[in-house]
Symmetry: C2
């Protein structure tokens, strides 16, 4: 349906919002009309925060995570263990691992995973820079924390091959039954893997 907008300015703003993933024209119109009802300063702040982010945001020169400074907060933190590097796909995965509060090492953000269907090859990712970090000798362990998908496994294997020439331990995050899951509803591949990769039980949880 060809919507008749009463204003070209309104139509433009709606079309911009509708470009966002998961936002259709109806939702876009709702959001834009909401913004129109807000005070001018707030709308200005909204627009500027986006423009400023895109203009000023940096990528850490060590781990390639989003950062406000040349080297990010995590990489420049004196208490973090530089000998352990956790390889993740993107910023959101860094945030997810950080939220667990279980990891005190540094990260390496690939910026994606190898996916021939999407046209993403190893050279589009920050893999060479990971090899260079390992080559420098500080890194003792690389933890591969990618999605448990075919693309994730392919990327894991590619990185494993690239790093096998160096004296570094390579590990992968455990795949198994989610906490709270019932055995009868777990798929057989996950269940099978969790039996093969069983760990010694020491009576603690």
């Amino acid at each position: 349906m060809n919507q008749q907008y009463p204003s070209v300015l309104l139509e433009k703003a709606v079309n911009e919002f509708a470009k966002l993933p998961g936002v259709g024209h109806k939702t876009a119109l709702r959001l834009v009309l909401h913004l129109l009802r807000q005070p001018a300063e707030e709308v200005e702040a909204f627009g500027q925060s986006i423009i400023k982010l895109k203009k000023e945001v940096q990528y850490c020169n060590v781990c390639h995570n989003i950062s406000d400074t040349a080297t990010c907060q995590i990489c420049s933190h004196p208490m973090r263990d530089a000998s352990t590097v956790c390889v993740v796909e993107n910023v959101r995965d860094v945030m997810a691992v950080e939220n667990t509060q279980q990891f005190k090492g540094l990260y390496h953000v690939l910026g994606g995973i190898i996916s021939p269907i999407d046209g993403v090859g190893p050279n589009d990712l920050e893999i060479q820079s990971l090899v260079d970090r390992v080559k420098s000798g500080v890194v003792k362990e690389v933890i591969l924390a990618l999605s448990s998908t075919m693309e994730g496994d392919t990327t894991n294997f590619y990185i494993y091959r690239k790093l096998s020439a160096y004296d570094v331990k390579i590990s992968v995050i455990a795949r198994g039954i989610s906490i709270g899951d019932e055995l009868q509803y777990t798929d057989e591949i996950t269940l099978g893997r969790s039996i093969v990769n069983r760990v010694t039980f020491d009576g603690k949880f």
Copy 2:
């Protein structure tokens, strides 16, 4: 959960997006990271379109609809019938009526409906300006096209009282069974009203 953002700029942009209705922090982060992957010109255009809209948009001095000019396209259109005025709540309702292509008169946008719970009284709405339009003598019919809710009915009645002193026909859009609806699933108030307000059937649809 207190999310740890790797960048203050990122956090600010996410918080701005999360202020939008129906957008939580997870969705906001997804949208912001999507924008970060877009070319700088596009992100700039997105931000500017919002700021520009808020700064430059006008409200028509006749019908109070959103407009790019002092008088909106509809009010200044030579082929529209200025003697019929359709009273609606907001811009979206103008667009909805326009999309039916059944109305060739002008509009009057109230900017809301009377709702004591939300603290909206008659003086917060464009009711006096409607009375002034009627007073000028051009308007022959006022069509009340508000939502079929208690607030809508209250506003209808308030406007009816305000306009009863003038020589103007006041009508209200038909309430009845939606096209395609089955009788057995229609609520009894709607069904009752549709019987009371029955119209002569002339064999045409």
